[in-house]
């Protein structure tokens, strides 16, 4: 290392690609990140993007309003396909959320410094994805105003939820996940809210940020307990995130429907969740760093690492597909074998092949260093993977339900315009929330960036 520079493309150089651009100080990271919120004028592009997203969200509101008036009959669901888009979208959104917790909690425990500049917006993404996910089972109940039945409350009828049901596990898992993610995010935001309070110029901003910061003053005694709490939350969120998609997979695996009733579902769902989540983080990070000039903070190293995580989890998912396929044939169970045939040759086979193309074949391009460092390719790839993961849930839900045990119970499923309006509408809601988030809260954790500056300046000495 000491004599003779390694060639420009060597692993040495790659490893040393910094997680933060050179020449940054405590003041400069604070200025740069807080100015996005406090002083930078709102651009025309922001208004245009927000308007589009907000219109889509409006479409969702109309679709849900019509659903509440007419009932779930406006959707394409009917017996035997009672689940349809609602559950496909629910699982897809929940999965996307998982990368945020993985980045903020698991990479924190593993002391991965590169997580610092992406954890804040990844956690925001988690919260918004969980919000989108939560809508679907709620409206899928048909009478969403009765949804409180799923929570244990002392009713006059003396009724209690059926705790042996995976659907009740789901209620607890998803609501715990949403709550803990919100707390984790808020605790991380606390010092940054204090920064915004101290730097805000307008009185209303000072009051709002000041209220949220709760009087945080950076006392060493406070930091001492804060760090304990943050570490514990990371330690608690780690098993939690693994449990959430496990419980979601139980919704399928506990049932006896062919193609669902397998023990491989929990790990394979968790890997798929992280896979789609990292894809979504890339989908958001690439425009974010471009528009707000954050290339110094979200460096190529971050994009490269995220692409590698995508590749690794994508391979786990591919392994899952392979074993799902193999075990169905190996079991000799005629319903399982039939299901595999239906995936390969049935009416929904094009979806299965598209899924293999999006989730297994395309991501293999990420083995290439050049392609991992091509921002445009990464962006397209992240969208392809998100489509692939959506198709995966579609294949699981629809093919199994349309082709179970007896031909008299077979059917077809096609979504209606209301299904699409609700689905695309939640994407609009997700983007709307992200647009609001980058305007009112620091998209990168300022306190942790200062910590990173301190650590990197120490290393240079």
């Amino acid at each position: 290392m000491s004599d003779g520079k390694p060639p420009a493309d060597s692993p040495e150089i790659r490893r040393l690609t910094p997680v933060i651009g050179p020449g940054h100080t405590f003041g400069s990271v604070t200025d740069k990140i807080s100015s996005i919120v406090l002083t930078r004028p709102t651009s025309l592009g922001w208004y245009v993007g927000f308007l589009i997203a907000f219109s889509l969200m409006g479409m969702m509101t109309v679709a849900i309003g019509w659903l509440i008036i007419k009932g779930v009959g406006i959707w394409g669901i009917n017996i035997p396909i009672g689940w349809g888009f609602a559950i496909v979208n629910f699982v897809w959104w929940i999965g996307i959320g998982h990368a945020g917790t993985l980045i903020s909690a698991i990479l924190f425990l593993l002391n991965q410094k590169w997580r610092t500049s992406i954890n804040r917006f990844a956690e925001a993404m988690t919260l918004f994805a969980v919000a989108c996910a939560g809508i679907f089972p709620l409206i899928h109940t048909g009478r969403p105003w009765m949804a409180f039945y799923m929570f244990p409350y002392p009713s006059t009828m003396g009724l209690w939820p059926q705790f042996r049901s995976p659907l009740i596990w789901d209620v607890f898992a998803v609501s715990t996940y949403g709550t803990v993610s919100l707390m984790f995010w808020f605790v991380g935001l606390l010092p940054d809210l204090a920064t915004l309070r101290d730097r805000a110029i307008q009185k209303p901003m000072k009051i709002i940020y000041g209220t949220l910061a709760m009087g945080w003053r950076g006392s060493a005694r406070h930091w001492h307990r804060y760090q304990s709490a943050y570490l514990l939350l990371a330690g608690l969120a780690t098993p939690l995130v693994l449990s959430v998609h496990t419980v979601v997979s139980f919704d399928f695996a506990v049932a006896i429907v062919p193609g669902w009733h397998t023990t491989i579902f929990p790990p394979y769902f968790v890997a798929g969740a992280i896979y789609s989540g990292f894809a979504m983080v890339l989908t958001i990070a690439i425009p974010l760093r471009k528009v707000y000039g954050l290339e110094d903070f979200i460096t190529m190293r971050h994009l490269d690492n995220m692409a590698k995580v995508m590749l690794a989890t994508g391979l786990i998912v591919a392994y899952g597909y392979f074993f799902e396929f193999f075990l169905s044939l190996y079991s000799g169970n005629k319903f399982d074998v039939f299901l595999v045939q239906q995936r390969l040759h049935g009416p929904y086979a094009p979806f299965y092949y598209a899924l293999i193309l999006c989730n297994i074949l395309t991501p293999q391009l990420l083995w290439s260093y050049k392609l991992r460092h091509n921002v445009a390719v990464l962006f397209i790839m992240s969208i392809v993977v998100n489509m692939g993961m959506w198709l995966e849930r579609f294949v699981i839900v629809v093919i199994s339900l349309t082709r179970d045990f007896v031909p008299s119970a077979w059917g077809r499923y096609s979504p209606t315009v209301w299904d699409w309006a609700t689905f695309i509408g939640t994407i609009g809601m997700f983007v709307t929330l992200l647009f609001l988030f980058v305007r009112v809260l620091p998209a990168i954790s300022i306190a942790e960036m200062r910590e990173l500056v301190a650590e990197t300046s120490e290393e240079e000495k």
Partner: protein, 181 residues
Amino acid sequence: MMQRHSHLYGVMGEFGTPEELLQAVEKVRAAGYHRFDAFAPFPVEGLSEALGLKRNLVPAITLLGGLAGGIGGFFFQYWAAAITYPLNIGGRPLNSWPAFIPVTFELTILGASFAAVFGMLALNKLPQPNHPIFNAHRFTHASSDRFFVCIESKDPKFRLEEVSRLLQNVHAHHITEVSLD
């Protein structure tokens, strides 16, 4: 003594780097002061040790929260499914405990997380909208790029001149008196 400085919360020195802060804290502590605090825009490594902070109560509170959530969650399900609302489904056992594990697990995490967050806030006495330290003009930098040490006037050893001299000796960039109101 206390009478003379009744308007004074303490004396505050400002530093530019975490290393300067650590040195200052060690010197102030060595000089025998107890009622003083350091302020930093991010958790400085070694600062807790320099201040002599012991282990805190957050982990214990979190454990209690987790236990309460887990034990309470399990027995609540037992009570609901086996005692108050039993359903005989083909003679299967009412206390089907494996089926209660997912919810028990989630409630353990929920209880522990609530305890960690609210325990931390309570021990830090937050929310606390106002504090005398905010009266110091330059303290807004404590949340961006400066580090501070404040020796409180309540410290039994507190003498205005001595404290100021001590902060000068540890090379504080600015030394300010922080008033109580």
